[in-house]
């Protein structure tokens, strides 16, 4: 027991990381109808670890200790409850006999089996009876170990609303006969798009979300990336579209370090210090993008990753190949149109063809009324007005954006832009 030998990296979010792995594994053993018991068992195991380590210090391989503790607690619960409850139906006999109980658990708590359980849980959380919001919340709660309060704060959402969503989602999950079987290729492929979508939304919540806590948002991005790499480790999960999803996450996450100035202010893509971008993540992203370029299906993830790679390749905002970006957004509008995609396309057109064209495209966006609570539509109009010299109009637009800013970081950013209209700078 020497805490000095445990590196800070190894400890980084260790409990959260292991909690997801253990809840998935214990649920695999107990059966999904016993999800609540599985959660209790894992929580109990983690509280014990916490109490012992607080006083004795953290052991050399804390992750292995957490797994062993969770396994022993699960074993206790199985022995205590096996006459009163049915556990995972497909494991029934093995769990009932003392001869096979311990060896079965040893196998199910082996690293490969834990990853398998994670995937089963990931696919189970993306149940077709659940809405996308509920799927994302459930993934965060069960697989990433976020409490209701932590999810509510990350999504800037009421505690009661999140609690209700999760309670309902768990009921749906616990009502399914068993965890999703990831070994049946046809079922796997049918559910895969929903899983990819949930991971994409989780990443986006971190990347573009409303939370004012930048650290929290970075964590959401990291969680999404971690789960995506679990998906990539599975033979059927490593499809071109999953590679594209992983590529877009790496390429966008690479820019995270440039988005906040040292004083905690938001930097737009145009004035970020690009030397802060994470070169190794960019290299990972490009390699993943290459791996995604097989087969004949072009997904929105491919296109978004390609857009991110064009940004990553540009040394300055002026050097960016905006014509290429416009054409990629055209493709994206054809595959998966949305007001946000249209907004980004219009901004790219303004960069490629001048502010007048940008304004034209912005005002032509259909469904634009959905932007009334989204500050960056008015802000985009304002930037182009400012660029064509209409300071007063630009200022009005920035003020309109400021009125719907969602957090202090956005507010400071927009105030600074309002100031730029007044000062005569850009």
């Amino acid at each position: 027991m020497r805490e000095a030998s445990t590196s800070p990296d190894e400890m980084d979010h260790l409990f959260r990381r292991e909690s997801g792995r253990m809840v998935a594994t214990v649920t695999r053993v107990f059966g999904v109808h016993n999800l609540a018991l599985a959660e209790d068992v894992v929580q109990d195991a983690f509280c014990r670890a916490l109490e012992v380590w607080s006083i004795r210090g953290v052991p050399e391989n804390p992750s292995a200790w957490l797994v062993a503790t969770a396994k022993n607690r699960a074993l206790d619960a199985l022995r205590r409850e096996r006459t009163a409850r049915d556990f995972a139906p497909e494991l029934g006999r093995l769990l009932h006999s003392e001869w096979t109980l311990a060896p079965t658990l040893d196998e199910l708590f082996d690293d490969g089996a834990i990853k398998d359980a994670m995937l089963r849980m990931m696919f189970s959380c993306c149940h077709p009876r659940l809405g996308e919001d509920a799927q994302v919340a459930l993934v965060l709660h069960i697989l990433c170990g976020f409490s209701v309060a932590e999810i509510a704060s990350a999504f800037v959402c009421g505690h009661a609303a999140v609690e209700k969503r999760i309670t309902r989602a768990k009921k749906v999950l616990a009502g399914s006969r068993q965890l999703f079987d990831v070994s049946a290729p046809a079922d796997f492929s049918a559910r895969l798009p929903a899983v990819q979508r949930a991971l994409y939304l989780l990443f986006n919540e971190g990347y573009h979300g409303a939370s004012s806590e930048f650290a929290v948002r970075e964590e959401l991005c990291q969680e999404a990336m971690r789960l995506t790499s679990t998906l990539l480790e599975h033979a059927t999960g490593a499809t071109p579209s999953t590679y594209a999803l992983a590529a877009l996450m790496s390429l966008n996450a690479a820019r995270l370090p440039g988005r906040l100035s040292p004083s905690g202010n938001l930097n737009s893509l145009f004035d970020q210090d690009r030397s802060l971008w994470d070169r190794s993540l960019i290299a990972d992203g490009i390699a993943l993008l290459d791996l995604s370029a097989t087969g004949d299906v072009l997904t929105e993830y491919h296109v978004e990753a390609a857009i991110a790679s064009v940004h990553a390749a540009a040394r300055t905002a002026q050097d960016t190949n905006w014509v290429e970006i416009v054409s990629l957004y055209d493709t994206l509008m054809a595959i998966r149109p949305s007001p946000i995609v249209a907004l980004n396309r219009a901004i790219a057109i303004g960069q490629a063809e001048g502010p007048e064209r940008g304004l034209e495209e912005l005002t032509a966006i259909e469904g634009g009324e959905r932007f009334k609570d989204y500050p960056f539509y008015s802000a985009a109009l304002a930037e182009f007005e400012l660029r064509r010299g209409k300071r007063h109009v630009a200022r009005e637009r920035f003020l309109a954006a400021l009125a719907v800013a969602r957090n202090p970081i956005e507010r400071r950013f927009l105030e600074q832009r309002v100031g730029a209209c007044e000062a005569g700078g850009s």
């Binding site: 983690f46 916490l50 012992v52 953290v58 170990g145």
Partner: protein, 113 residues
């Protein structure tokens, strides 16, 4: 220098894994600081919540004690300090206090002083 026992009582359980980890990291930081200043004699041990009670006379063995959660001793540490007020001062940094718990500071009794 005299020796003192810190008895950790109560303290709410964390509500999420992340919070649990933060609590543990606070304990580690606190111990690190105590040890660096030479106050730790023995880090001590955490204790299970329940055990047995052996009664006088009949020597009957029963389950227990069933103290209220806030009074349950969760563990102990042996420290040394100049006097009881310094020991109490050291205990003020204990993370159990952040979670509604208490630290009981008890001097180890000495003979012949």
């Amino acid at each position: 220098m005299s020796e003192f026992v810190f008895l950790y009582r109560g303290g709410n359980r964390p509500t999420s894994p992340e919070e649990g980890q933060q609590v543990m990291q606070k304990w580690m930081a606190w111990f690190k600081d105590l040890a660096a200043k030479g106050h730790v004699v023995d880090r001590g041990q955490p204790l299970e919540r329940g055990g047995k009670l052996v009664q006088a006379g009949t020597k009957a063995v029963t389950d227990g004690p069933f103290a209220e959660a806030k009074d349950v001793i969760g563990g102990y540490t042996l420290v040394k300090a100049a006097d009881i007020s310094e020991a109490a001062e050291l205990a003020k940094g204990c993370p159990v206090l952040d979670r509604g718990g208490q630290v009981e500071v008890r001097p180890v009794m000495k003979l012949g002083v």
